[in-house]
């Protein structure tokens, strides 16, 4: 879309002065924005803020939300680097860190909320910093886990010969990380960052306007704008909010993620990209900056000159430094591991004490709610599969369609579905469908894109010789579907299912419990239990329900998704 529309700008590949000007202007704008954010963050903490629903207030709100998302992303990236590296390098830590990450991933955002908000607000009682940080941390919980998994898996699968070369030529641990391991993981991390950033927006409405036991912790931002608009039933403001969100996502996609992904192409291992090579007009623009070219050319010339000058000189003896992993690092890791272990034990003890106070009868209700919610999650996954498979195949198998629709799907998938919930609920209300079934639709709205995304990717990777075979033997449409396309896309489908089901679980907390035009609508289910408990600051129920949800999710992953994944890797793999 944008890339193509602006292609004419790229045709003269000369460096231009206005690229430099643009960079300077952008720098100035960012600086101005940051000063504004600084004012807002350090401003005096107000008990409750008033949100302005006029569209003119939107740019500022959107900017505030954007900054929160970006700060959260930086946090996620730092966390990812540290956690993934630690887990990949330290055998002992790995046995704790990876299962822990699995559990963290399954905890819905409301499970983190009370602790984070109360702690941070207590830490900064007078300014907005505490609340802002709380929102950032909650966005972080929607971003970080996936990125960490991605980098961990990359770090574990660095090709053996690259590792050997690094050892032989005596790269120290830092060089090994920054020259070998991190670059190897960069491509996957870039794609994952894009997806994770989208995941971070999912709960923006909650993150910026949470209510905890009668306390209203609200921050100015796009999410709170939307939630206020929904509460008041202000249709015009809701539309304006959705438009602002789409603009923000598209801009991020074009100005941040496209360039990052194109840039990350240089880290791919082999030239095996069969499909379309991603392009970015923005990166092209940056690369055409005159300043940059001058510097590069100068460095190259200087290097060549020097090589000629000392060409004949005899090679001097080389220092043979062999930096080992510093002992300090080892001890540090051990101390950190012990501290982490201690915290975990202490935390579980406190949790157990808290849970003991819960009457037995409540557990029965919770289990019933969990069963019902599980059924909704599965139903939404099935429904999602039913429509996305044919559509995804149609898109993926046609190069023209996928070129046109892929970017659109990407933006749509990044859009936080809860922002559309008010409109959908109004619609459901109109046709008389209750939230019991309606929540399935709401969950579907958020998660179907993951399946679609993967089916499209799977369909475009079906080898052309197999497709030609199917055609030449005149396989019918139905037979082609079952004999070729479904098996060939199965591995992608499984990935889509895992992501979609995970997302659906998370979405239950906003799908089963909704505030609409000032009144609360809810249906029986684990998500509703969690939301209600959080609103009423009923920490016992909240802890029990979050624990139960995370147990169900982890168990389901182990018992269903992992075997399915195994099957996909062995029987339906096209690369083996």
């Amino acid at each position: 879309m944008w890339g193509q529309a602006n292609a004419f700008l790229l045709s003269p590949r000369r460096p231009t002065a206005w690229a430099d000007l643009l960079i300077l202007a952008a720098g100035a704008a960012v600086l101005f924005g940051l000063v504004q954010v600084g004012k807002e963050w350090t401003g005096v903490h107000r008990p409750a803020i008033q949100l302005d629903l006029s569209p003119w207030a939107l740019p500022a709100y959107t900017f505030y939300s954007l900054v929160r998302g970006l700060v959260a992303y930086v946090l996620s990236l730092l966390f990812t680097l540290l956690y993934a590296f630690w887990a990949a390098k330290d055998r002992r830590a790995e046995t704790v860190l990876i299962p822990l990450l699995d559990i963290l991933q399954s905890i819905p955002v409301l499970g983190f909320m009370p602790g984070v908000v109360l702690a941070l607000v207590a830490l900064f009682p007078r300014t907005n910093v505490g609340l802002e940080l709380a929102a950032v941390v909650m966005i972080f919980t929607g971003q970080a886990w996936n990125m960490t998994f991605s980098l961990y898996h990359s770090l574990k699968s660095v090709p053996a010969d690259l590792q050997e070369a690094a050892r032989l030529y005596r790269f120290g641990w830092w060089r090994r990380f920054s020259w070998v391991e991190l670059p190897f993981g960069t491509t996957a991390l870039a794609w994952n960052s894009m997806m994770s950033m989208a995941g971070g927006w999912f709960f923006l409405m909650i993150n910026e306007s949470f209510v905890l036991g009668g306390h209203d912790f609200r921050l100015p931002g796009l999410g709170s704008y939307m939630s206020v608009a929904a509460e008041r039933g202000d249709g015009r403001a809701m539309v304006a909010g959705v438009v602002a969100m789409v603009v923000m996502i598209t801009a991020l996609d074009q100005v941040l993620w496209r360039p990052v992904i194109v840039w990350a192409l240089r880290f791919r291992i082999e030239d095996t990209t069969g499909g379309e090579v991603p392009r970015s007009w923005f990166l092209g623009l940056l690369r055409r900056s005159r300043l940059r070219r001058r510097i590069e050319a100068w460095r190259l010339r200087r290097g060549r000159r020097e090589a000629r000058r000392v060409k004949k000189a005899a090679p001097a003896a080389l220092p043979s430094a062999a930096p080992a992993t510093p002992a300090l690092l080892r001890t540090g890791a051990t101390v950190a591991l012990v501290a982490l272990g201690g915290t975990l034990v202490y935390g579980s003890l406190r949790l157990a004490l808290l849970l003991l106070q819960l009457p037995l009868g409540s557990w029965g209700t919770l289990f019933g709610a969990a069963g019902l919610t599980l059924a909704r999650v599965l139903l939404s996954t099935v429904l999602g599969t039913l429509w996305t498979v044919p559509v995804g195949l149609a898109i993926g198998l046609s190069p023209r369609l996928s070129r046109l629709l892929q970017p659109v799907v990407q933006v749509v998938a990044s859009f936080p579905a809860p922002m559309l919930f008010p409109a959908v609920i109004a619609l459901l209300h109109l046709i008389g469908v209750g939230l019991g079934w309606g929540s399935v639709l709401l969950m579907l709205l958020g998660t179907q894109w993951y399946i679609l995304f993967n089916v499209v990717a799977g369909a475009s990777s079906v080898p052309s010789d197999l497709r030609e075979t199917a055609r030449s033997f005149r396989l019918g449409r139905w037979q082609r579907l079952w004999a070729l396309y479904i098996p060939a896309t199965f591995p992608y489908l499984v990935t889509g299912w895992v992501t979609a089901a995970g997302g659906a679980w998370n979405a239950t907390i906003v799908a089963e419990y909704v505030t609409h035009r000032g009144e609360i609508m809810k249906t029986f289910g684990l998500g509703a239990v969690i939301s209600e408990a959080a609103t009423q600051a009923d920490f016992r129920t909240l802890a029990a329900a979050v624990l139960l949800m995370s147990t169900v999710v982890v168990t389901f992953n182990r018992l269903v998704w992992r075997p399915a994944y195994q099957l996909a890797q062995t029987r339906y793999s096209l690369t083996k």
Binding site: D161, P183, F267, L300, A307, L318, S320
Partner: protein, 435 residues
């Protein structure tokens, strides 16, 4: 030269890998090897003889399970100083330019940045890559990539240059040029590298490069012979002396891999529970070999077989070995001759071929044991159980490879069924009839 200590030396080195349960996999047995100053030593042998493992133990990348590594006469653990390796798969960092790849290893040694750039450019110049400094490895051909690998190795001014099948992923013509260039660089006596240790599977390459040729045999890897190569340099690949040497290397390998005094494959003569390892070859390959021999009056020279069919030599050896185990061919010296059974086999229709194949398999102990075990377990055997059995009975073989070969051979004769998903081996439909 004799009183000068070797640059690098292996003494009584053994290597085994623990494979979870069962006995460890023995890879190397009693390796004694030295690399003296100013020489080129080549390791050659069939696949699985551990030649790359020896190279890595010398470099200190892998630790020996037993025995010691010495550097200038001193015992050593960890990385051996003064070693640079040119890798089979290049092992270039794809995200660094040609220049970056070379600079990186210099900077890792603590060379200041500006000097690293200079030295890197010198090394690039030396291997003839000037002008490609800013290219990424993925833009280069295999031969060019290996030049970068060479530049990287030479840039650290190594005392010893190790090369692990450096030209096996490079086209033949380019490889020939690179070999000559490496020797030219090495021949400067006053300059590093002083010595070269190279792993190869190509007798011609070895005869061209080496001062000493170490021939290894497999399972477990051990040194069979060391051939001194005193041909004057520069050598001519087409000279009769060199071709005679190539022939000699061929002979040594053949006598190691296909000994004339064959341990009989008839079961009754094997009283203990030793089992013959299966060569990694396919049933269809063996049939093709028999067909080929039939078309050539029933016999052919092993090396001509390999070169005429453009099959890598060690793969051809495995095919012949498999055929010999089943009594389909005989190998007097370097000849491969069809046996009467082999002749019958080649002439038979596919169904009869399958029967003959099956009968042959049932003469082999491994298949007998498998079948007995299967009957003991009530007509089915899990992969796990059989892997354990193989690991116990064939401690020098990789159980998984042996298992895969066993399944492939059994399938070829409809002897057993194997379901990959269930990991279960069951009798084939024809098994009852044979028994």
């Amino acid at each position: 030269m004799a009183d000068e200590p070797a640059l690098c030396e292996l003494r009584g080195v053994q290597k085994w890998f623990d494979r979870g349960t069962g006995k460890p996999l023995r890879v190397l047995e009693d390796i004694n090897l030295e690399l003296r100053p100013s020489e080129v030593v080549c390791l050659i042998g069939p696949s699985g003889c551990g030649k790359s493992t020896i190279l890595r133990i010398c470099a200190g990348l892998i630790e020996a399970s037993k025995g010691e590594v010495r550097y200038h006469g001193e015992k050593l653990s960890g990385l051996t100083p003064g070693v640079a390796i040119v890798f089979q798969g290049f092992a270039l960092f794809p995200w660094m330019t040609v220049l970056g790849n070379v600079e990186a290893v210099l900077r890792a040694r603590g060379v200041p940045d500006s000097e690293a750039a200079t030295r890197a450019r010198q090394a690039i110049l030396m291997v003839g890559l000037e002008g490609f400094e800013r290219a990424y490895p993925r833009e280069l051909s295999g031969g060019m990539k290996q030049r970068v690998g060479m530049a990287r190795a030479l840039s650290v001014n190594p005392e010893m240059l190790f090369m692990d099948e450096p030209f096996s992923q490079v086209d033949a013509l380019t490889a020939e040029g690179l070999r000559a260039e490496i020797l030219q660089i090495w021949e400067h006596a006053e300059r590093n590298p002083s010595s070269i240790l190279m792993v190869s599977h190509d007798p011609k390459e070895v005869a061209y490069m080496a001062d000493r040729i170490v021939v290894l045999s497999a399972n477990p890897g051990r040194i069979r012979t060391v051939i001194e190569n005193r041909l004057p340099r520069p050598r001519d690949l087409r000279s009769p002396e060199l071709l005679a040497l190539v022939d000699q290397i061929h002979d040594v390998i053949t006598s190691a891999e296909l000994p004339d005094v064959v341990v009989s494959t008839v079961a009754s003569s094997v009283a203990d529970d030793t089992i013959e390892p299966l060569p990694l070859a396919k049933g269809s390959d063996v049939v093709a070999l028999l067909d080929y021999l039939t078309a050539r009056a029933g016999s052919a020279d092993l090396f001509q077989l390999a070169s005429q069919t453009q099959t890598p030599f060690d793969r051809m050896v495995r095919m012949v070995k498999a055929a010999e185990m089943l009594d389909l061919v005989d190998t007097p010296r370097r000849l491969v001759v069809l046996t009467p059974l082999g002749q019958r086999f080649a002439a038979a229709p596919p169904a009869d071929q399958q029967r003959l194949w099956r009968e042959g398999l049932l003469q082999l102990r491994l298949f007998k044991v498998t079948r007995e075990l299967m009957e003991l377990r009530g007509g089915e055997l899990t992969r796990k159980e059989l892997l354990l059995e193989i690991a116990n009975r064939l401690p020098t073989e990789d159980p998984e490879t042996t298992f895969d070969t066993l399944v492939a051979w059994a399938r070829f004769g409809s002897l057993f069924h194997y379901s990959e998903e269930q990991g279960r081996l069951t009798p084939g439909e024809a098994l009852g009839a044979v028994a």
